[in-house]
Amino acid sequence: MHSRSNDLILKTTTNIIVFVILAFSINMLFSGHNAPGGGFIGGLMGAGAFLLLYVSYGLQPVHRILPINFTYMIAVGLLIAILTGAGSFVLGVPFLSHSFGYFQLPLLGKTELATAMLFDLGVYLTVIGVTMTIILSIAEDKIEKEVGEGN
């Protein structure tokens, strides 16, 4: 492996920017129903945040702090999406029939809750999982190769 210079500025800015991006991504997810955004874009954005972490700190440190298996995340996301759809069977309506309503919640006040939101959450998680799985597989492979060749 080539020696890594001390990317102090990168790391410091990353610490701040990652949260901004993550917040933006979650905002995209939640506001998607009424404003541009949604699970797909939010997911891609979230993956961008993780990616930035990996770029600045390297694979091993991030993996230590965030022990997430992104392959599982794909499965979890798909499962949420399918279960949301299948939930409509309980009420005797066709697959993927959504409903929504307005509720008074503590802290948030009057809020719209829609089952479509849950479905979007499934999309969100799947997209993060997919993007990260693809990029990490390629990246890890490259590092393993280099380690292997170094031996």
């Binding site: 998607g32 129903h33 009424n34 404003a35 541009p36 955004g37 949604g38 699970g39 797909f40 874009i41 891609l44 954005m45 961008g48 392959t71 794909i74 499965a75 996301g77 798909l78 999406a81 399918i82 759809g85 697959f95 993927l96 959504h98 929504f100 719209e112 829609a114 479509a116 479905f119 979007d120 499934g122 999309v123 799947t126 997209v127 999982g129 997919v130 993007t131 799985t133 693809i134 990029i135 597989s137 390629i138 492979d141």
Partner: protein, 781 residues
Amino acid sequence: MLHIYILIPFLAALLIGLAAKKVDRIHTGWFVLPVPTVLFILFISKLPTLAEGKIVQSIANWIPSLDIQLSFYLDGLSMLFSLLITGIGTLVVLYSIFYLSKREQLVHFYVYLLLFMGSMLGVVLSDNVFVLYTFWEFTSISSFLLIGFWFYRERSTYGAQKSMLVTVFGGLSMLGALILLSITAETNSIREMIANRSDIIESDLFIPILILLLIGAFTKSAQFPFHSWLPDAMEAPTPVSAYLHSATMVKAGIYLVARFSLIFSGTDVFFIIVSGVGLITLCLGSILASRQTDLKGILAYSTISQLGMIMTMLGFGTGIATLAAIFHIFNHATFKGSLFMIAGIVDHETGTRDIRRLGGLYTFMPISATLAFFGAFSMAGFPLPIFNGFLSKEMFFDSSLKLEQTSGFAGTFAEWIPWLAVIGSIFTFVYSMYLVFGTFTGKAKLDQLEKKPHEAPIGMLISPIILIGFVVLIGLLPNLINESLLAPAVASVTGDFALTHLAFWHGFDNTPLHLSLIVVAVGTILALTLKRWQPIFNRVPGKFSTDRVYQSIVNGLLSFSSKFTKFYMTGSLRLYTSIILVFLVVSTSIFIYVTDGFKIAFDDLAPVTWPEVLVGFVMAVAAIATIWMTQRIAAIIVIGVVGYGLSLLFVFFRAPDLALTQLIVETITVALFLLCFAHLPKLKKSDKKSSEKLVDFVIAASTGALLTVVAISSHSSKYFDSISKYFVDNSYKLGGGDNIVNVILVDFRGLDTLFEIAVLGLAALGIYAMIKYRDKGDMNH
């Protein structure tokens, strides 16, 4: 009743297959023997009914919606064939018990044989044409299995394959004829077709029907030019040759022609084709038989020639000719069956069938030799009243002299027939004499034989003795079977029930006898001087060998298809893409041209703004520039310009979700491309010739132009209002959201999204698996 008759052999085949392995001390054939015997007796018991002019029939439903019924009926013609099938079947099974040793795979043999017997009965008893066709193909398949019985021999599999190809070719063309027939006559029943005869003859489809049907009959019955499978089918065990290739299956074509002759007979086309092909086959078969050296080869060509003779007589279509044909079907089955069995005995007892190594066997095998003399002289039509072959041959001459076709070409043709008949008969005489004298007289060449010849066991001789018994009996008393068997058969071929008295003696003063005497005289001379003729024989017919034609067709087809496949399946993706694109362009532009589909309308266009034009221009420049990039990375980045331009266009067209997604996706794609392409070797400078480049350019330009045309046309011809108004109106009401795109994605059309994320998941797993496990299969790693 008839259903059960046909079912019996199939059931027996099943039982034999299941039970015979249990009992291995007794030859399997003994269990099979009762089946044809019982059937034979059952059929015999129906003879009085038929003699009264009645028929036996039974019907069961099979596919009522298609008007396909298992309807079987037994008239004179079916009866003759049923008796041949079961009678000779009995004798062949008996013979095979002694012929095949217990070391052979007897269960296979008898299962195939019983299947064949059942399907052959089905062919001759069916009234429904499609049931007939079903059984017809069953006979082809079971015959294929029987010919390839010794599947470890190359010649056997070759013969089996050849007979399969030829007979199935004919069977399929027959199916075509039957379908046309059933459309024309509006019925599937043969008898109702005969009733609608005039409809069929007057229809435009008459000639195609006739030709297709005759191809089926000619291939099955080994008529010129489809005869070449029969000699190769001689690789089958001899009982099979005796049964299938002399008495039964090869007569299925004859049966077909006879069965349908009530429809076709009397027309000039039928007369010319059937008699013409029959005569060619008769002459060619008899000439080719004289140059064979294998006993079964001689018999195979002799069968071809005799079948040609029967076919000729069926083509004549007159009463006397039909009687002669029917009579000869019976006679041929008796003497040819016995001759095959004797050839098998000779093979079995000496170890060879090569006539050049045989000779002088008379002293060793007197009974077989005597039987062979009778068989061969009957086959040659020697004018003595103890040979049934003589009677039918003389009736053949007689009928050929009494043809009444006077119109045009058919009339001219009819005048030539007696001469061709005489030529064919002369060579028939030659090969018959060659067969019997070459094998049984002369000097014995014991040193060339594998074992010392001796008489066959009595069990093997029973069957040929019975058959030769018929030869002599019918020769002496031809009227014995006339009233009961032949007359009903003739009645069902010609339609009128008229008894003709058969007599073997018409006095000296008649032409057929003179012709027979000529045949004997010339034939004797030729047979005696055969050695001198043989070189000419060997040279001349080789040129006309249909074997070579068959082989070149098969080889030609194979090499043509492999060349054709190699021509366009080069493995080059570039070529495939070109083919796909050219097909797209050609088919779509033809469609647009034919339907006059190109439209252009200017009334529904949005105003063009400068930013859009600018972005579009940049995208076009970037797209074109990609082609000239010499480095992959440069090409990827230039492609990226197109992607970002697109997302800008989305912004202009007020699609924020699309713009966002496009922006991120484009970034990730470019990043992934950069990641992967960094490992690839450098772009080589294109070594394509300029002509290839030109072709590529034309294809690409025409595809682009076509898609533009399609896009313009489809935009200009909107037949319905868009459904988007519904989404705009109901997005908040039903979906609870203001972002219509998102509501459509997760609510109105959520199923699409569900499967799109499933696609993404699969893609990720695919990449993961490809990267992680790519070395696992490599054993050296």
